[in-house]
Amino acid sequence: MSKPSILNFLMRRSSAHPTADDLRSKDPERKGQGLFRLGRSKMRAGETEAALAEFEQALKLLPNYAEAVAARAESLDMMGKIDAARPEYERARSLWAGQRPGAPDRSYLFRQRGRFTFEVDSYELALLRVKTGSFPHLACGNALLAQGHPEEALKCYDRALKIKQNDPDLTALKGEALSMAGRYKAAVEAFDFALATNPKAPETLNARGIAKLGLGDLAGANADWRRQLELLPAEQAAARACVALRLADYAAALPDLEKAITREPGELYWQLYRQTALRRLARPADPEDLLPAAAPAAEAAFQKGVAAIATDTEAAKVAWRETIKLGPVSLIEVCAAHNELSRL
């Protein structure tokens, strides 16, 4: 028996991470994460060299897997290979930092960056002991939702809600999962419940707006976003700008975008959105195309509409309809396209 197996046997529990299926998978993502979790188990059991081998295997499949890079760095560090470990720690941080976070006006969970395998692994371990706590379920749910797995996240939130019944914050998160799964009616109900307890929750208002838009209720969505804008403090300039952009209210967005650029000069999207606002307000703007090369197609379509609107209304309409078709309802550009089209 390996040390982790002995540990499992002594603790009278089944393996916290049944990785066998993952390890057999042909999907590199799934197999890579399985290898990472196996490595973590070995690391906890003191088998550092064996753990290192698993992390290296995982990295062969997923070279930009930040969690595996960090775990590899820590293993090397534990083995005294400090010089080899140091750049790996830095690389892990760079990989995380290089991922684009979600829009700042949405729930905090969409702004997180990473695969969260380490976190899910740790919370699952915590669940072996913590039987009356909703937190690990919630944290796992958030990690799954941030990775785009709403159905799995829903199961976690439901487990959390069994422990902390009718909790408005958990219900709001469940609403986010329902919304991402396209179950907008149930999502709106969940957000209504959460907002009845805390009507001043900007992120929940944003989420309800998105779910209402999913149901085709643009007026309802705009009302929620306007209320969100009222509640957001001046110092949350980036979030304010994003809400204003959803509303296609460029005059409101512009000053907040200026502030956001001052705070985060390296964030390309604030530059792009500022250019968008200037163009839509018919003010002088940088002629250079600021849309990142890797931007999703829906974002590119939206910018096409912005470029066309001054001279060719029909072309703009086509581009914005394309935006709505290509992008998720939560995308800023999709929300803005709905508003643009409603005014034409």
Partner: protein, 524 residues
């Protein structure tokens, strides 16, 4: 680049607090290299007549530590509304939030730690400012390593942080100190509260520490749970820095009663946290509307204020020593040496807020004149209120308001009563058997009446904004007839005669002769 936030009070929390804290303050300052870096120490609920904790140990701090430290003094009066809800005398969440609210907005990072921690960067050439400056946004923890009590107590030199950090690097290897204690997420490591680095913006976004946590313990874990939700991950800085804790368990601290320790609920504050945010305290965390005094150790220190005040009021002595006597046959002689006594009277008020309003009932005109000069010189901005009933005192002194006792008793924050002979001049001899004149007796009688009334009705005349009893200072109330009178009404310590001054809070029930007789008759 970063603001370190720590808290405490001027007491004796755990073993050899003064040494631990000095080592820690100096070591923390040593790893700072950015001009905006700061150590924010919240001095929570130190009694008003004590200096703050860092002031009390200022002589053991390096110039760098004094320069970077900002002290926020939270008065007992600020804590009064929470006093009956907790057994603790210092509250972590409130303290840390008060500092956060007032931290330098130019700093991107907040580092939460405690007054017994030393941080060493793994690359000795890197400061904590360098390390944090190069980090991407996130929430970072490091493991805490323990230093045996004997080592830090015996071998560290408080004022040599560089030498201490060199020793620590050596000990860590020689004595195998570096043992990482992993923990359940979101507490990535055990004792996580000794190093949690997070963005200032994030802390404002999640509304700071949870101020419902007033029973002690787990404030750090609650923060970790909420920041772990907010950021999704808890990152490690183990490759950059190690944190060492001066172990202090020889004597249990006040909040450590073994298995009987009262604590904030684990379930509520860790395992059932469901949001990073705290909407009920969104507008109030860190007490934004409360005026919190800021004390510095590198400028306008208490000593500098004391000297500035007394220099305006008294001249240096021209003789090697002066004389007085506490022999019992001199019990009725109320003469005292004013230039000698004034420094002790000033010492009683120096630690109070500069805006303090003081009622001064006096008999000697030169005491009022001298004290008023010293008061102003010490930087006090509050008025000196003198009861009009006290006759023979000079009028029109700057900062002094004379008004009927009944009008001013509800306006004062502090009482001072000076029982001397109105007829005594500064050059007159002291305690040679002088008898009080008729005028002296008349003025003393009035003053005694005012004192009894003020002390016995203090609770009834207390301003609505105050919840705690106001302090009484008695000048020339030792080994004379005003000693028993003063202490019948005020719970004062036994002080040396040489200081001439007693002080304390009014007793709930005066220990009067009538009271004593009644109690005696009851027993009989």
């Amino acid at each position: 680049m970063f603001s370190v936030i720590i808290y405490g009070r001027n007491d004796s929390h755990g073993y050899n607090l003064h040494k631990r804290a000095a080592i820690s303050f100096n070591a923390l300052a040593e790893v700072m290299s950015d001009p905006d870096d700061e150590i924010l120490f919240v001095d929570y609920n130190t009694p008003d007549d004590h200096p703050t904790f860092p002031e009390a140990i200022a002589d053991t701090l390096t110039e760098k530590a004094k320069k970077v430290m900002r002290i926020f003094r939270v008065r007992p009066e600020h804590h009064a509304h929470l006093k009956n809800k907790t057994h603790l005398v210092a509250l972590e969440s409130q303290s840390r939030n008060i500092a956060l609210r007032r931290s330098n907005p130019k700093n991107r990072w907040i580092l939460y730690t405690n007054t017994d921690m030393l941080l060493t960067s793994r690359n000795p050439k890197e400061s904590m400012s360098d390390i944090l400056g190069a980090l991407p946004d996130g929430f970072y923890q490091i493991p805490r390593f323990e230093i045996p009590e004997m080592l830090w107590e015996a071998a560290f030199d408080r004022k040599d942080p560089v030498g201490n950090l060199v020793k620590l690097r050596d000990w860590s290897v020689r004595f195998h100190l570096n043992q990482v204690v992993h923990n359940f997420m979101p507490m990535r490591y055990d004792a996580l509260g000794d190093f949690q680095a997070c963005l200032r913006d994030d802390m404002f976004a999640i509304h700071g520490f949870d101020e419902d946590m007033i029973l002690g313990w787990h404030c750090d874990s609650n923060l970790a749970a909420r920041l772990a939700l907010y950021r999704g991950r808890v990152d490690t800085l183990i490759d950059k820095a190690f944190g060492y804790h001066c172990d202090h368990t020889r004597v249990a601290a006040a909040n450590n009663k073994g298995r009987k320790t009262t604590m904030n609920s684990h379930d509520r504050f860790i395992w059932n946290v469901s949001t990073p945010y705290l909407p009920p305290q969104a507008e109030t965390w860190g007490w934004p509307d409360v005026e919190i005094e800021e004390v510095r150790l590198d400028r306008e220190t208490s000593y500098e204020r004391f000297v500035a005040g007394l220099e305006t009021a008294i001249k240096p002595a021209t003789v090697p020593f002066t004389n007085t006597s506490c022999e019992w046959h001199l019990f009725d002689d109320l003469t005292y040496d004013l230039p000698h006594t004034l420094p002790f009277a000033c010492d009683q008020v120096l630690t109070y807020p500069k805006s303090t309003v003081i009622m001064l009932g006096a008999t000697r005109p030169d005491f009022l004149t001298g004290f008023a000069k010293a008061w102003k010189g010490m930087g006090f901005t509050g008025a000196i209120l003198v009861p009009q009933e006290c006759e023979g005192l000079p009028a029109g002194l700057p900062g002094v308001t004379q008004a009927p006792f009944a009008d001013i008793v509800r306006k004062t924050d502090l009482f001072m009563f000076e029982f001397g002979l109105a007829s005594q001049k500064v050059e007159d001899p002291t305690r040679t058997g002088r008898e009080a004149s008729a005028t002296d007796k008349k003025r003393l009688k009035t003053l005694e009446r005012l004192f009894r009334e003020a002390a016995s009705t203090e609770a009834n005349t207390r301003p609505a904004r105050r919840k705690l009893a106001r302090r009484f200072i008695g000048v020339n109330v030792i080994y004379n007839k005003y000693w028993p009178i003063f202490t019948d009404y005020v719970g004062a310590n036994i002080n040396p005669f040489c200081s001439q001054v007693l002080a304390g809070s009014p007793l709930p029930e005066p220990t009067t002769v009538r009271g004593k007789i009644l109690r005696f008759r009851k027993r009989a």
